[in-house]
Symmetry: C2
Subunit: 276 residues, 2 copies
Amino acid sequence: VKVAIQGERGSFSHQAALELVPRAQVVACARSVEVFDAVDSGRTAAAVIPVENTLAGPVGEHLDLLCERDVFIYGERHLRIEHNLIAVPNGQSKKMQLKAIRQVLSHPVALDQCRNFFRRHRGVASVGFYDTAGAVKYVMANKLADAAAIASRQAAREYGGRILIAGIEDDRQNFTRFFLIKRKGRLPRALRNGKTSLVFSVQNVPGALFKALSVFALRDLDLSKIESRPVRGKPWEYMFFVDVLHGHDEVMDLALAHLKEVAGFVKLLGVYPRGK
Amino acid sequence: VKVAIQGERGSFSHQAALELVPRAQVVACARSVEVFDAVDSGRTAAAVIPVENTLAGPVGEHLDLLCERDVFIYGERHLRIEHNLIAVPNGQSKKMQLKAIRQVLSHPVALDQCRNFFRRHRGVASVGFYDTAGAVKYVMANKLADAAAIASRQAAREYGGRILIAGIEDDRQNFTRFFLIKRKGRLPRALRNGKTSLVFSVQNVPGALFKALSVFALRDLDLSKIESRPVRGKPWEYMFFVDVLHGHDEVMDLALAHLKEVAGFVKLLGVYPRGK
């Protein structure tokens, strides 16, 4: 099964794709729009995209694309972000090899999440790179002896790198949530542990958001998440992305119909089993 | 009056600082924490920070710092983001000079907001830089003849650059909202066109957010904005940042007391006149 991801092979998206679709044949795309194009055009059967990180917050661009494009969410996965120090295998002991490292390459967000490592290794410079897995690819391709990269285990596997230190992230409570998206087909039947994602806008009148949320509260439908996003071309107006801890059934249909009464725009984004 | 900003002199923050504090003596800080430190320690009387952009969304790091640090919002300002193509003055006509430009440096977000320019000028490469104003500084310092930078008018003024083309951004509906922050002092008296910013967390029970918002809806207090942010160390729990179109008075005091009944944590972030 072909699954599109944004970024290099060996990225956290690659790892999430393999967990959501065990036999996934990953298609790496440089930009997020290309990932959505791949699904839209049928070039890949699915895509796996990050939508939220517990330290950094939402991935706004992906929320916007979910709203704009004709795709549907069929699954979610929460991946713990483990950062590893990865170098070119050279036969030495890990301790010896670590002593020779003078610079560490990775995406600036990843570097920032490993501050304790750089505090303990004062002589090591951190160098910003466009992608975590791309940094491993670069260190391996150029056989750099004095450099290492910070990336996922999947990146080490992908490019044959050696993990010198595993889990060098400062905060272990670092998770990213991924969506599995496909072209919209049939709605899944009521799921016992289902979740529904949707987006809506409200009119610019007092209490409008409160009324929209009452649609769920009055039916005892619990929200696990609400996220606002600015509307392009309409400064200071917002869309609201909501996750409801409930699958698709008659109650949800009634709630959606009620929401359409009070909201300006409503789009059902997905119905899927809750991820671990 | 000393006012701290994040980034180089000539940045959009610099421009916003001058609009909020006309005689501001701007103190440029490399990192956002240093901006808050400057206010905390009294090294500067105030700081001006971006909190939201109408295309890119919220500046999460600044919302987190507003929540953590002992500062208070005393003003806001909405600045239209105008991007300008800036080069080293060389006495030629603008048209002639433009023909010699082979690369344009700027922050990746700014480059991405000027795609039409690069579509019209196929031979010009876009080069990512850490800062918009920093790109102007670099082009000027190195007297680059074949390069230009994309940045604010303030950056051209600051470094003596020449604006070859003004307003090259694709979307004119691009605004950034800035806060003026100071050490917390007295609350301003009820403002006719006042605004109140606060942050709260809710317990993880069904309908908790709905109850929290009822505190305002039941008193006809209008929200202009709600933003969720992940809580560090508590994956999938959120803080909610809310702006209320109402200054500080008895009704607001009652609403805040009511909010404390239903929310786990409440912090008043600021009371200030509504920005234009």
